[in-house]
């Protein structure tokens, strides 16, 4: 699951990251790293060593990248962040929420979602992370929702780059999509 996960250290831009100008420089590098990843690859932006990550920098460097991914650029590449302290992520989460985006954050041994994710999508994502993978029929059964509804939820989570959707042949013919979690941690913070 964590195969193809490359780490990008934001610390190289300084300890206190604040301006949009610097954030735009970081965004260029992050996008370049994402574009070099293989299909299914993940870029883990590590915030270790940072004292400050301002909302302006976070918006330029990370929220705008997440928005580009949501808009369909760099398909099947995934962006995650890692921080030692949750407080450092507050401004990033606020900027993501304002853009209607969500991003996985790894804090210690736990994961959480930054930004904004509706309750039903969060429920779905929790289930996929807990089980590692899901098909819409399995998810529909587990959450007592229709297969169509489950399928819609998985597509939306995929659009937000929070899960992978892998096509596979159905035993009865045709194609179905299998959702895979992009993180392996089971503990949600």
């Amino acid at each position: 699951m964590a195969m193809g996960r490359k780490v990008f250290h934001l610390r190289k831009f300084g300890r206190r990251l604040g301006t949009r100008l610097e954030g735009a420089r970081a965004r260029e590098e992050i996008l370049a790293e994402l574009s070099r990843l293989p299909v299914g690859g993940q870029l883990l932006v590590d915030l270790s060593g940072l004292e400050v990550l301002s909302g302006s920098f976070a918006d330029e460097a990370l929220a705008k990248v997440a928005e580009q991914l949501k808009d369909g650029e760099l398909s099947d590449r995934y962006l995650l962040v890692k921080a030692e302290e949750e407080e450092l992520l507050e401004d990033l989460s606020e900027r993501l929420a304002r853009r209607g985006l969500a991003l996985f954050a790894l804090v210690g041994e736990e994961w959480r979602i930054l930004g904004r994710l509706s309750g039903y999508l969060e429920e779905t994502l929790d289930w996929v992370v807990q089980h590692g993978e899901a098909t819409s029929s399995k998810l529909a059964q587990a959450l007592s929702i229709s297969v169509k509804n489950a399928s819609t939820r998985l597509k939306e989570l995929h659009r937000l780059r929070l899960i992978e959707l892998v096509p596979e042949s159905r035993p009865v013919g045709g194609i179905q999509y299998r959702a895979r979690a992009v993180i392996s941690s089971k503990r949600k913070g």
């Binding site: 300084g14 300890r15 206190r16 990251l17 604040g18 301006t19 949009r20 100008l21 610097e22 004292e51 400050v52 301002s54 909302g55 302006s56 920098f57 918006d59 929220a63 705008k64 928005e67 407080e87 450092l88 401004d91 606020e94 900027r95 304002r98 853009r99 209607g100």
Partner: protein
């Protein structure tokens, strides 16, 4: 007059303005001067000079008060734009947190790093306090190149910043004499009809921005929330409106008009040992 602070300045400004561009500012009886006032006087001196006049200062009679005023970097920064009734004392030495000019976004990160390092040398800043102070500085300082003259008019915003430590608080001041929040916000059609006070409230309470991009703006609101959460004080003056926040209470009122945006943020020093 014992202490000349932002509140007192608001009351004195109409009298000073009557003799603009050659106002006489009498500091002779002042016993303490707020850094907000020191930075404001540099900005005011600049504005007077641009109008063909000169700011005239009667220095504090008490030598230690005059030295403290010089220690802010006021006279070094204002130069010939200010006249004083006697030669001002020596200015600050190296490692000072005195008044700095903010012209370009590219220099903001370096300015903030230097300020944080000077503060860290003087007393042990906790990680949280550095985060709060640096975040506020980074956002406020970059607002000057971003917002003080958004249409590239024939004006010199003349952005300035200063940080000063006191026994009970840290005081951050950032100001310019650019177009002001009201005119900047009016570039967003959604806020075009707002008055000055409403514009200030929209920026500080709602997080309104001149940009339609949802990721932009909100920095002043965020700082206000941080100030509130840490039982600090904040004052934002822009044009003819002033916003104040003291702990959980806030208000917006009319003030004597002055171009640009002038911001004062006071954070309790207890936060810096957390």
């Amino acid at each position: 007059m014992r202490t000349l602070d932002a509140w007192r300045l608001n009351r004195e400004l109409p009298a000073w303005e009557r003799s603009f561009p050659r106002p006489l500012v009498d500091l002779s009886t002042v016993e303490a001067i707020d850094p907000y006032v020191a930075v404001f006087l540099v900005l005011y001196a600049r504005r007077c000079a641009e109008a063909g006049g000169r700011l005239r200062l009667l220095l504090p009679r008490r030598e230690e008060v005059a030295r403290a005023l010089a220690g802010t970097g006021l006279f070094r920064r204002a130069g010939e734009a200010v006249w004083t009734d006697r030669p001002p004392p020596e200015g600050p030495g190296e490692n000072s947190l005195g008044i700095v000019r903010v012209e370009d976004e590219g220099e903001v990160q370096g300015l903030v790093d230097r300020a944080c390092e000077v503060l860290a040398d003087r007393f042990p800043l906790g990680e949280r306090s550095i985060r709060v102070l640096a975040m506020a500085m980074l956002e406020l300082l970059q607002n000057i190149p971003h917002h003080a003259n958004p249409l590239g008019e024939e004006i010199e915003p003349y952005g300035l910043a200063a940080v000063q430590e006191f026994s009970d608080h840290i005081h951050l001041v950032v100001m310019d004499k650019g177009v002001g929040l009201h005119r900047s916000l009016a570039l967003n059609p959604r806020y075009r009809g707002l008055g000055e006070r409403q514009a200030l409230e929209a920026v500080l309470i709602e997080g309104a921005s001149r940009f339609t991009d949802p990721g932009r703006g909100g920095a002043l609101r965020r700082i206000r929330e941080v100030v509130q959460a840490n039982e600090g004080r904040m004052l934002v003056r822009s044009g003819g409106a002033g916003f104040w926040q003291a702990e959980v209470e806030w208000g917006v009122e009319g003030v004597h008009p002055f171009p640009g945006v002038q911001i004062s943020v006071q954070l309790p020093r207890a936060l810096f040992f957390g």
